[in-house]
């Protein structure tokens, strides 16, 4: 597929005219030639149109060569089809995405050269087919109309348009001459990456510019973890945790199931140890943490504790296990937790994992290594790998050094390849000011962001799906990153820019192939093709480390004192802020708070009560004189004294979607206290309305009481959430069905007979669900679900077909349990929505799908009123065409919500062509991914027609719904209920399976599997 500029904007056409005629008048006339032309801003008046047409005609006449045809467009039905290509049948390519320098294996679905959906690569050991929210959402960033479209020159608010040729001239004039000893004023700032090609290019770059300073920085880093390993082992290591083999898992302020480079694998392994509850055994998860994390939400034993107290807790554990000698400090209220944990760990020697999170000091990490060693876990449940960081200083130190050099005037040319240090560097370093002292600052990024506006050169970066590269998984397994599409805006990748700096052609493919030429053996071409096909290169893991930790003499750092401590975490949706312009992620209800379009200062419920703070009240946070105002959010299960905030908000140059959303926590984050800091909290009296998709917790007392009745008290089964402990489950295996039993009353036979060989059904295992939201974004991407914007979420009009209901059970001031209950249309056989629709727009098909006929729907919304699950979503406005941020207010300050002619040309490229894009006034809901069912049925029928299989039935596993595919814990199972051997039938036969609200006689096709917890016996 050609770049957008050629096919859609005609930019090459005008530019070629200008090149042919070389007329400056024409350039003036066009006004914007040379600059990247936004296709949508090209609105010509009639007069202007005639001017330009006149000018074109005369210029064309002058040169006779100006008459050019538009770029060729291919139409779908080829007269002679290219071999191997079937129009309308998507192709899949394996590639990777990287975060924190670690690669995730992806499989990207591409329609006619247009990538539209990302899945995990089933062959990749750290994906196994699952994906994270960011993997899913990156496709939206690819087609973000606000991505940078051309090289630009700054600094300043408005960057001047430029192009790559001019930048090359700059390299010739300013950089190329510094080779050798003259390179001392040169510095390169990159995002950390384990990519072999980047490492090779770094080596080559430093060879050419030996005195240049090479710095790695990413705000969400694992510095302290790395330091801890060095402290314990004297070298850089990383642990590969085998949660599948661990029977006791203890996490101290760690979130291995969400914020970890290997989270997907962790979640898969962990879920194995949970689902085995049906066989009577189950792992037990202990979590001590300051505020709820994904991992904490599924803990069996959870202790809310101040982050600054975690080191003492770990030390107490170490003392009790005999790892270190000495006296444990006072354990105010934590004794029971530690005692239970100690007993459990001693019973499961070599079958446990103790883990501490990246926000804890290095000394704690060292202690935990020693504890794991004492428990015999190293080499069993934890494999140690050599970390590629080697001897290099931590990223924070590197950043500090870079700023020191910049301030000292030692850097006069800085090349920033990716990242956004002006926004996310530690506040005390004042990176922006230091950047002002650099004479030539070059910044490569996807957006013209905060850093771009302070640099002399902005270079558009190629999206991960647009460029060649490579990367390595958490254990070192390498993958090659292959582009799915040519760069839409002519962007380049970091390795290509490095090649340019070396004076070489910016040819990503050649650079990556060069790296791998040595590694892939003699038969390079076929090995290369295999590597691209598989998405992994076998046998490339890091060397394993056999070492014994030494922790003698390790002293805990001084504790953060003060009434309140600030706990700074990456955001579950926006991560470090790089996704700020991604509408899917902005509107993704955050786990546990269900908050969208905002970040908040989470305070414990008891603190909120004491200070009289209500949800949404604006509080002022002050850390060492740095102040920030954020809306407060009383968070159940948060440790008193903790104020938890997330990074990534308060962007000023993120793009239209992300600008000005939330508050910038980086302003409070210093290099010395990047995770925990003493903070002063004071209410300001202001109030800010928060957009939450679900607000049933901490409401009025009557509402809370009603929720408790329906969900059940802590440790008890409720009406809508069935749960039991492992012991109770063993004693009463049929507890989940006892509540209401099977209510199948029917005065008359249902009008639809389900006589089709296919009867689709689903199960959702709530024991395995960790509430990670991957399914929510996957559904949004697969089904063209629109983003509605903050004001619409406040009005309860979010469009997600799949939501993850969260219920807290127990005392919000203590440590409540959490239930994650994913709910989407359950496809009732006796569907209440169907008989009330006056126009027959929602009906049943013979395979049991409750189908919504969009073009028949007139939008009475009666179906939604009558749906007890409230899974139907209504297009109150024309959400696809509208700007989720409200946009222009042309009249009386009213937002312009008029229907647009069409969706932005670029944005609509992300649409799944197999799913209707719904207009306003139409009801929609989960379809069980009917397009995937149809595709599988067609394939099965074709295979049968060609004699390849005995019948036209779809086999189990041939239809995988988008949510099912994304789920890291495989909590969702979909299949044919008429196939007795299918997994879904096995799951529905599971004793934990129950029909949500089945007492209403809706006969849902989706069943939920009850929650089983495994608390320690007292």
């Amino acid at each position: 597929m050609p770049p957008v500029d050629d096919s859609l904007t005609g930019r090459a056409y005008w530019r070629s005219l200008e090149e042919y005629a070389g007329s400056p008048q024409f350039r003036d006339l066009l006004g914007r030639a040379g600059e990247a032309i936004d296709p949508d801003s090209l609105g010509y008046s009639r007069r202007r149109f005639l001017q330009i047409m006149g000018a074109s005609l005369s210029l064309a006449g002058l040169t006779l060569t100006g008459c050019r045809r538009w770029p060729e467009e291919k139409i779908a039905p080829f007269a002679q089809r290219p071999e191997g290509r079937v129009p309308g049948v998507p192709e899949y390519y394996a590639t990777i995405a990287q975060r924190g320098g670690v690669a995730h294996g992806l499989l990207v679905e591409s329609y006619d050269g247009r990538p539209i959906k990302i899945e995990g690569n089933p062959d990749h050991p750290f994906s196994l087919g699952a994906s994270e929210v960011w993997d899913q959402a990156t496709i939206l960033t690819l087609y973000d109309p606000q991505r940078s479209r051309s090289v630009a020159k700054g600094p300043g608010e408005a960057l001047a348009a430029s192009d790559w040729a001019e930048f090359e001239k700059f390299i010739q004039e300013q950089i190329a001459g510094r080779k050798g000893d003259a390179s001392s004023g040169l510095a390169v700032l990159v995002e950390p990456s384990d990519s072999p090609t980047l490492a090779r290019m770094k080596a080559r770059f430093l060879e050419a510019y030996p005195k240049a300073y090479w710095c790695q920085w990413e705000p969400v880093n694992r510095d302290q973890e790395l330091e801890g390993g060095r402290l314990a082992f004297g070298r850089s290591v990383r642990g590969r945790y085998q949660f599948g083999q661990a029977e006791v898992i203890a996490c101290f302020d760690a979130d291995p199931l969400y914020f970890h480079p290997a989270a997907l694998r962790h979640a898969r392994d962990w879920a194995q140890g949970r689902k085995s509850a049906d066989e009577g055994r189950m792992s037990r998860l202990y979590v001590a943490e300051p505020t709820f994390t994904t991992t904490g939400s599924v803990a069996d034993e959870r202790l809310p504790v101040r982050a600054s107290r975690v080191p003492e807790l770990v030390q107490a554990l170490a003392v009790r296990l005999g790892v270190v000698s000495g006296q444990a400090g006072p354990l105010n209220g934590s004794t029971a937790f530690i005692e239970k944990l100690v007993t459990d760990l001693q019973r499961h020697l070599g079958r446990s994992v103790v883990m501490v999170g990246p926000s804890q000091p290095a000394q704690v990490h060292a202690l935990v290594w020693a504890i794991n060693d004492r428990l015999g876990n190293l080499g069993r449940t934890i494999t140690l790998y050599e970390d590629p960081a080697g001897e290099s200083p931590t990223q924070t130190e590197q950043m500090r050094e870079l700023v020191r050099r910049m301030n000292a005037g030692l850097v006069d040319a800085l090349v920033i390849l990716g990242g956004n240090p002006v926004y996310d560097a530690p506040a005390d370093l004042n990176f922006a000011e230091a950047l002002g002292r650099v004479k030539h600052a070059v910044h490569l990024s996807l957006y013209q962001d905060e850093t771009s506006h302070r640099c002399h050169w902005h270079l558009p970066r190629a999206h991960d799906l647009e460029c060649w590269g490579d990367g390595r998984a958490w254990d070192g397994t390498a993958s090659i990153q292959q582009p799915l599409i040519l760069p839409l805006f002519g962007g380049k990748s970091p390795i290509e820019v490095l090649a340019m700096l070396l004076g070489e052609p910016a040819d990503g493919l050649a650079i990556v192939r060069e790296t791998w030429r040595g590694h892939l053996g003699l038969n390079f071409d076929s090995a290369w093709r295999k590597a691209l096909h598989d998405g992994v290169v076998g046998g490339t893991a890091y060397p394993q480390v056999q070492a014994k930790p030494q922790v003698a003499g390790v002293e805990l750092p001084p504790r953060v004192e003060g009434e309140f401590e600030l706990v700074i975490q990456p955001d579950p949706s926006l991560y470090d802020g790089r996704w700020a312009n991604n509408g899917w992620l902005q509107e993704l209800p955050k786990p546990l708070t269900k908050l969208t379009w905002d970040n908040v200062a989470m305070v414990s419920v008891s603190d909120a009560k004491r200070l009289g703070i209500k949800r949404g009240d604006v509080v002022k946070l002050a850390v060492d004189g740095r102040e920030l105002e954020l809306p407060a959010f009383p968070m159940p299960g948060q440790a008193p004294g903790v104020v938890a905030v997330t990074l990534g908000y308060g962007r000023t140059h993120a793009g239209h979607v992300g600008d000005g959303v939330g508050g910038d926590v980086y302003r409070l984050r210093t290099s010395g206290a990047s995770h925990v800091a003493a903070v002063a909290l004071s209410p300001t009296g202001g109030h800010s309305e928060l957009a939450m998709t679900s607000m049933h917790f901490l409401i009025d007392p009557l509402g809370e009481r009603t929720v408790r009745l329906r969900v059940g008290e802590k440790g008890e089964s409720g009406m809508i959430v069935r749960e039991a402990t492992l012991a109770q489950y063993r004693a009463h295996p049929h507890f989940a069905k006892e509540e209401h039993g099977d209510v199948r009353l029917q005065l008359f036979e249902p009008p639809v007979e389900f006589n089709d060989p296919h009867a689709w059904g689903m199960t959702i295992d709530m024991t395995a669900c960790i509430g990670c939201n991957a399914c929510v974004v996957a559904c949004q991407a697969e089904n063209n679900v629109p983003v509605v914007g903050k004001d619409q979420v406040i009005r309860s009009r979010e469009m997600h077909w799949l939501r993850i209901d969260q219920y807290f059970k127990g005392d919000p001031e203590g440590s409540p349990d959490v239930v994650h209950q994913p709910v989407m249309c359950v496809h009732c056989e006796n569907a209440p929505c169907e008989q009330v629709c006056p126009v027959n727009a929602t009906t049943h098909d013979s395979e049991g799908l409750n189908v919504q006929v969009y073009n028949r729907c007139v939008g009475t919304r009666y179906c939604s009123n009558n749906c007890p699950y409230k899974v139907r979503r209504f297009n109150f406005l024309d959400y696809h065409a509208k700007d989720p941020r409200g946009g222009a207010k042309p009249w009386l300050g009213m937002p312009d919500t008029q229907q647009d002619q069409m969706v932005d040309r670029l944005r609509r490229m992300v649409f799944n062509p197999e799913v209707t894009v719904r207009m306003r006034g139409v009801m929609e809901k989960c379809t069980y991914c009917v397009q995937r069912i149809a595709r599988a049925k067609m394939a099965a029928r074709n295979a049968w027609a060609q004699g390849q299989r005995p019948d036209a039935l779809v086999r189990d596993g041939e239809v995988i719904t988008a949510c099912q595919q994304a789920c890291p814990t495989q909590a969702i199972v979909f299949g044919n209920l008429n196939d007795p051997n299918s997994r879904v039938v096995q799951h529905q036969k599971n004793r934990r399976a129950y029909a949500l609200l089945g007492e209403l006689n809706t006969r849902p096709r989706t069943q939920h599997l009850a929650v089983i917890r495994n608390p320690a016996q007292t």
């Binding site: 679900s694 607000m695 049933h696 009025d700 009557l702 509402g703 009603t706 929720v707 009745l709 329906r710 969900v711 009406m719 809508i720 619409q792 009005r795 309860s796 009009r797 939501r803 209901d805 969260q806 219920y807 709910v823 209440p832 169907e834 008989q835 009330v836 629709c837 006056p838 126009v839 027959n840 028949r856 729907c857 007139v858 939008g859 009475t860 919304r861 009666y862 939604s864 009123n865 009558n866 007890p868 699950y869 409230k870 139907r872 979503r873 209504f874 297009n875 109150f876 406005l877 024309d878 919500t897 008029q898 229907q899 207009m919 306003r920 006034g921 139409v922 009801m923 609200l997 209403l1000």
Partner: protein
Amino acid sequence: MATLGTIQHEAPPVDIDNTHDDPRHRAPLVTGDNDFASVTTKVAQLAQRPPALWWWVALAIASSLAGLLLALIGYLLTTGVGVWGTNIPNGWAFPIVNFVFWIGIGHAGTLISAILFLFRQDWRTGINRFAEAMTIFAVMCAGIFPAIHVGRPWLAYWLFPIPNQMAMWPEFRSPLLWDVFAVSTYATVSLLFWYVGMIPDLATLRDRAKSRLGQIAYGVLSLGWTGSMRQWHRFEKAYLLLAAIATPLVLSVHSVVSFDFAVSQLPGWHTTIFPPYFVAGAIYGGFAMVLTLAVPARYLFGLQQIITKRHIDNMCKIMLATGLIVAYAYGIEYFIAWYSGHHYEQSLFVHRLFGPYAWAGWLLLTCNVAAPQLYWIKWCRSNPVMVMIVATFANVGMWLERFVIVVGSLNRDFLPSSWGMFYPTWVDIGMLIGSFGMFLTLFLLFCKFLPVVALAEVKTVMPQAHAPADHGDLRATLGDEVRSGGRH
């Protein structure tokens, strides 16, 4: 009629109290010293004389509000139903509340004209014309809302069973479809009934019209009425038949509207008491609206002797009776919620009184249960200010009742994760006010251009109609009985 003139000079009290319950005396239905001619003059002059200043002021206000409604509908159609506060879970809110409210208002007219006609309640003649007009206008207001509340109003005609190339029929099991039939039938029959009953009076206006335009317009509308005995005979047969047809509709239309709720399975909606409860509520609310219009109208138009205190008194009593039925229905709802042992049902009714919309729940009980009890007191029924206050309470209460049923049930249903509040937008409120504007505009135009009292019918309940066929001086023959307006 010189004698008549002298009596007028005596200036008797205009508003005569005829609410006495003396069984020896049948209370007169037209008070004062009126005969056929004076009644005709009093009513017809309203249409003949140029309107008063207050009429112009009221029309200006009402029609601007009606204009607001039309403008907001335009805004809605171009933008989408998102201009309202409607959301998920509150898929229905103001528009449906307004629809049910206006349909309910529309009940009193047909009840007065049809059911009371069949029951020979002669006092209905004084008020039936404008009560029916009110019905028509209320149904018009009601009809707007379901049409515009759908997401794609330009396709709303798909609700009608029109044969089409898609071979698609509507879903006959859907109560919304029953609504379409019920409301359109009701509107048609009510309009017909109103118009047929008005033909003799239109002929009167035609005969009295001075302007050419008036003569033509009333002439066309009166369908060549001459008042011949044969025409009277046919007219009365037709009127009786239409009354018989309209009577079941009074009961059916609101029963069907209540099915919108009762047939669904939402707690708070799914209840069998809804049809009778809705009908009683509609009559209660309809009479409240008739009173709201009648009490000021009889002063403003000088009709105190035709719409007498007795009429007001009777209507108050009907409100009291139907209000008690409504109160009983409320009680039964709460009782059954408790008695059913159904958690979702119970939680809903606790929420009605103590949930986020408790203010509406309590206000509703105040307006619909407490306020009408004042009508037990005779003074409250005869004091126009008190009558107006209670009727206004009832109007507010009946709107709130639908709000409590619709939003109060939707906002917290089965799964707590889906709970959500409804907040009206300015468009919601503007449309509610605008619908009142439209209603009043139509009503004011009706008062100006059409006979506000059924002249022909009123005359039949006057003593003169029952006098012996003596063509002499009626007064001389009948003496005092004419004065008291009694009837043989």
